[in-house]
């Protein structure tokens, strides 16, 4: 028996862990309801804040938010992998036909960011287009120092990138050689660490590490999005199937659209009500 001691222990541990995990899962399912939310990395920070506030009021509701990408959110809601999907761009023609219900929970501006030491404070839409399509390559052409521009973009398929390219008008014409990162954090870190860099991120994720430039002398603020002067904006969408969602999830959606939920959205984004 001694010879098999280790083996037997290993098998027992395997069986034990399986039972423990499955039992744990069952127990929590009985006590409460878990809402699975997946999708855009730009929407996730807002959704997590909303989820925390809602869970505080309703302790028996567990909300799991995973930021994987807008494409994942739309597919997840379509196939039913997640109850709610998040998207930071409008649905494309090939996705509209899924027949998903769409709820706009907030509007977000996309800020064009540069390194804090960069003297450039304002760019026009044409200049931004020039930078991203490769016709402007030096900061001196924009009133800055004589340095080459390091163009930082998001990866193809990103909701932020899609919205940015559509508003600026260079759909899928990004200059070769532009650096691409997945996620808002990567773009921000890259711009914060390189004085030559220019990038774009969600206004809600903006902080002191980077400097947001005004676009055509209009500051990227929520107020300017509301009055329509700041054009680089996109909706934050939640996607679901009305018939398939649990009544708890419906409550959560109603709460997001209530005065209380929208007040939370208004902290960093533009509320829709």
């Amino acid at each position: 028996m001694k010879k098999h001691g280790i083996l037997v222990t290993a098998v027992i541990f395997m069986l034990l862990s399986v039972t423990v995990f499955s039992a744990g899962g069952r127990e929590s399912a009985e006590a409460s309801y878990t809402i699975e939310i997946t999708g855009s990395t730009s929407v996730s920070p807002l959704m997590e804040t909303l989820a925390d506030a809602f869970s505080d009021q309703n302790p028996n509701v567990v909300i799991q938010v995973s930021g994987t990408g807008s494409g994942d959110g739309i597919t997840g809601a379509n196939t039913g992998v997640a109850e709610l999907g998040m998207s930071s761009r409008n649905l494309r023609a090939s996705e509209l036909g899924f027949g998903l219900d769409v709820l706009t929970i907030a509007v977000d501006a996309i800020a064009v960011i540069v390194h804090p030491n960069n003297p450039v404070n304002d760019l026009s839409l044409e200049q931004i287009q020039g930078i991203y399509t490769g016709s402007i390559t030096n900061w001196s052409e924009l009133g800055g120092e004589n340095r080459r521009i390091s163009v930082v973009s998001r990866e193809p398929g990103s909701g932020t990138r899609g919205a940015f390219e559509e508003v600026i008008g260079f759909v899928d014409e990004l200059t070769p050689g532009a650096i691409e990162f997945d996620g808002t954090g990567g773009v921000k870190a890259s711009v914060a660490g390189n004085v030559n860099a220019v990038g774009y991120i969600s206004l809600g994720s903006l902080d002191q590490e980077v400097k947001a430039v005004s676009v055509g002398a209009v500051e990227p603020t929520g107020a300017n999005v509301v009055n329509g002067t700041y054009e680089i904006a996109r909706p934050f969408l939640v996607l679901y199937r009305e018939d398939n969602i649990h009544h708890t999830t419906k409550q959560f959606l109603d709460w997001i659209m209530s005065a209380e939920g929208q007040a939370i959205a208004a902290k960093n984004y533009v509320p829709v009500r």
């Binding site: 028996m1 098999h4 083996l7 098998v11 994987t68 990408g69 807008s70 494409g71 994942d72 739309i74 597919t75 494309r92 023609a93 090939s94 996705e95 509209l96 036909g97 899924f98 027949g99 340095r147 080459r148 521009i149 390091s150 930082v152 990866e155 193809p156 398929g157 990103s158 909701g159 899609g162 390219e165 759909v171 899928d172 070769p176 050689g177 532009a178 650096i179 691409e180 990162f181 997945d182 870190a189 890259s190 660490g193 390189n194 030559n196 860099a197």
Partner: protein
């Protein structure tokens, strides 16, 4: 009785082993079949069987004689129809559109012909998609009809040899820049890393005192255990800014940064296997060489090193595979732009980086194309291993 039970346990455990080993084979096969299946679809099938319409803000619409009320999903136009007749009410008027279909045309722009009167209302937001817009009373409530034309099977050579990766709107899936980048970063890393690793191993195995050799070996084993994202972070914070400063480029994220980080990452793998194989060379070889008057250096390079070459080659194989498959560290330092690098300071994107970057953001054919990249990666690794195996055989025959 005790013996009997022991026998039973023995048999039981043997069955358990068998099940586990079969399970691993089945799991591997399932993964491979899934990836191959997904990866082959774009080259054999169209994205949809027929032209599909989607409407926005049109409560009631007739398409080729069928009426759809508050229809939100796709409206499929049967492939045998040679025209699309759409009619609906707009601002009190009754609108009828007649669109001709030429399913045989390969150019998507010619598949559906729009009447000249619609020219101003038709836009193409992305390749193979046309949108007809009718202005509504409020912004955002325009009546829209989207026409999705199925994409024909993608040509395999346009995929393998295409130089543009524009997957979202223009639907171009050329991966040659990524194949180039993967090969360049890998060979660069092997070129830079393997000589360093070999020198370090010979030094450690042959010249260092047992005490310091033990110290070096354990530090290298420790290096092997560091997660790759940490190497990437080190590269991003240290190597990338240095490259930017030294070369005066716009950004330090480059092919060179990827090569340097990868060459550091393959060091532990190559070194530890090389040391092991050098140590496995019988002591009598060294004694004989030294007895014949060779110096310590001559013995190491001319006797011990050739005797251990199959093990050294194995280390090289593992190092190369690690460099090909490395993802996280490369994403952080390479800059990820899908282009052919014209210099060492240009940013590149490897195949694994593409899969990792875009998997969460892709849908439909774009998603399947990422699996196709996985298949190509698999083939590259198989070919690479095949070449090295052949080399090894040659070397063993020569010996």
């Amino acid at each position: 009785m005790k013996k009997e039970m022991r026998k039973q346990v023995d048999i039981g455990i043997r069955y358990l082993f068998r099940v586990i080993s079969y399970f691993s084979v089945v799991a591997l096969a399932a993964i491979l079949i899934f990836i191959f299946y997904q990866g082959v679809i774009p080259f054999v099938a169209s994205t949809a069987p027929a032209i599909r319409l989607v409407t926005e803000h049109i409560p009631e619409i007739q398409v080729n004689g069928s009426t759809y009320v508050n229809h939100r999903t796709f409206i499929d136009v049967p492939s045998k129809d040679d025209e699309i007749v759409i009619s609906f009410e707009h601002q009190g008027e009754y609108i009828e559109l007649q669109l001709e279909i030429n399913p045989d045309k390969t150019n998507p722009e010619q598949v559906v012909r729009f009447p000249a009167s619609l020219a101003e209302q038709v836009t193409s937001p992305e390749a193979n998609t046309y949108t007809i817009t009718f202005p509504g009373g409020l912004p955002g409530l325009e009546k829209k009809i989207h026409i999705n034309i199925p994409e024909p099977p993608y040509r395999f050579f346009a995929f393998l040899l295409g130089d543009e990766w524009r997957p979202v709107y223009r639907k171009l899936y050329g991966i040659l820049p990524m194949i180039t980048a993967t090969l360049m970063t890998t060979f660069g890393a092997v070129l830079l890393g393997v000589p360093i690793a070999l020198l370090a191993s010979v030094m450690t195995a042959e010249f260092l005192s047992p005490k310091s050799a033990f110290f070096v070996r354990s530090s290298i084993d420790l290096l092997a255990g560091i997660p790759s994202v940490v190497y990437g972070f080190f590269g991003l914070m240290i190597i990338v800014p240095i490259i930017q400063r030294v070369f005066g480029s716009a950004s330090g994220s480059s092919l060179l940064a990827a090569v340097i980080v990868l060459s550091i990452m393959i060091l532990p793998t190559v070194i530890s296997i090389t040391i092991t194989s050098l140590e496995a060379v019988p002591e009598s070889y060294r004694e004989a060489s030294l007895a014949l008057g060779a110096t310590k250096m001559q013995t190491s390079w001319r006797i011990v090193f050739p005797a251990a070459r199959s093990g050294i080659l194995a280390g090289g194989i593992l190092g190369t595979s690690r460099a090909v498959g490395e993802t996280m560290a490369v994403i952080l330092v390479a800059g990820n732009s899908p282009q052919f690098p014209s210099s060492l300071t240009d940013s590149v994107r490897t195949m694994t980086a593409t899969i990792a970057l875009e998997m969460g953001y892709s849908a439909g054919r774009h998603n399947q194309m990422l699996f196709s990249i996985g298949v190509i990666l698999f083939v590259i690794i198989c070919v690479l291993n095949g070449i090295i195996m052949k080399l090894k055989q040659h070397m063993l025959e020569d010996a």
